[in-house]
Symmetry: C2
Subunit: 197 residues, 2 copies
Amino acid sequence: MIQEGVQCPDQPVLRLDLALVHYPVCNKHGETIGSAVTNLDLHDIARAGRTFGIDTLYIVTPFADQQAMVRDILDHWQTGHGATYNPKRKDALSLVRICQDLAELYALVEEKWQRRPTILATSAKPNANQLGYAQARQRILAGEPHLILFGTGWGMTPEVLADVDGLLPPIIGYGGYNHLSVRSAAAIVLDRVLGKS
Amino acid sequence: MIQEGVQCPDQPVLRLDLALVHYPVCNKHGETIGSAVTNLDLHDIARAGRTFGIDTLYIVTPFADQQAMVRDILDHWQTGHGATYNPKRKDALSLVRICQDLAELYALVEEKWQRRPTILATSAKPNANQLGYAQARQRILAGEPHLILFGTGWGMTPEVLADVDGLLPPIIGYGGYNHLSVRSAAAIVLDRVLGKS
């Protein structure tokens, strides 16, 4: 399927996708694991994505039971009781798609935009291959296709991070602590690249 | 207890508190209700608060069972198994205090800072009494005591919003949707007033 991008009145065409990666990620000991999908990650990141104007939120997990759980959540809010109880959730969760692995994800977005998007990752650690938020914002608002990866657990493996086009800088404040939830990190990154203040 | 403010090397003295209000808030029909405390609200907002350098996250609820649940969560992560399993959570959740109602909250922060802080609220709707993020940021970084209220459910009642010193503007993007989770909204507000990009 070829996609034109997200366009509404008085806004630029946007071609931004997010992916929430559950495999391969690290556990607290730095070992490669697959993490479990968290219900509120889907809701919070889909709602933030819908607020800021992304095209799709991809949930990356190779585990059949986890994929089934995501489908159950989506069904509840899109065609089940949730759809009438809270249509705003239906609207937000319509952005969610399930993906088997990163290879499938990269192929899907390349097909959709008819070229390989710039693939950015987020990490709580500083990295040499950084792309600043202002520069990412400028390119995204210019309509260039971008895919931003968010890791669950203790973050994506070094191999995944080494394979992307750039890393967005860690989010820091005055507290000397950088252990945000992925839900909070995704909200802040979206606001930095697409927020209207 | 008189508080001096949060100061670490190479940072300004900060006197910012957040409060997550569970009563009085609106339900989807605009009726005044008390909402239930959500476990992940505590974790996510405490972690964001610790990242950006707030003093305290007050959980406002008059319900004894809800207060007991908050104490159970805090005990698990501060002295129970959670404290050794993940010390970063212990650190973040050390910012949390329980409050009976807004009157108690306002008295506590006034006593703590030895003057009434500027009380700001967040709302998904535009309001005449708005204070921009840049101005709030300037005042907070100058060390002026501020308290920012976040509503749960469908937001704080009009009476609460009419009684604060100012409202922070709604968070919007290009998606034409403004139904962020309170966890996402708190993360973005903190980044706007205290983030180092």
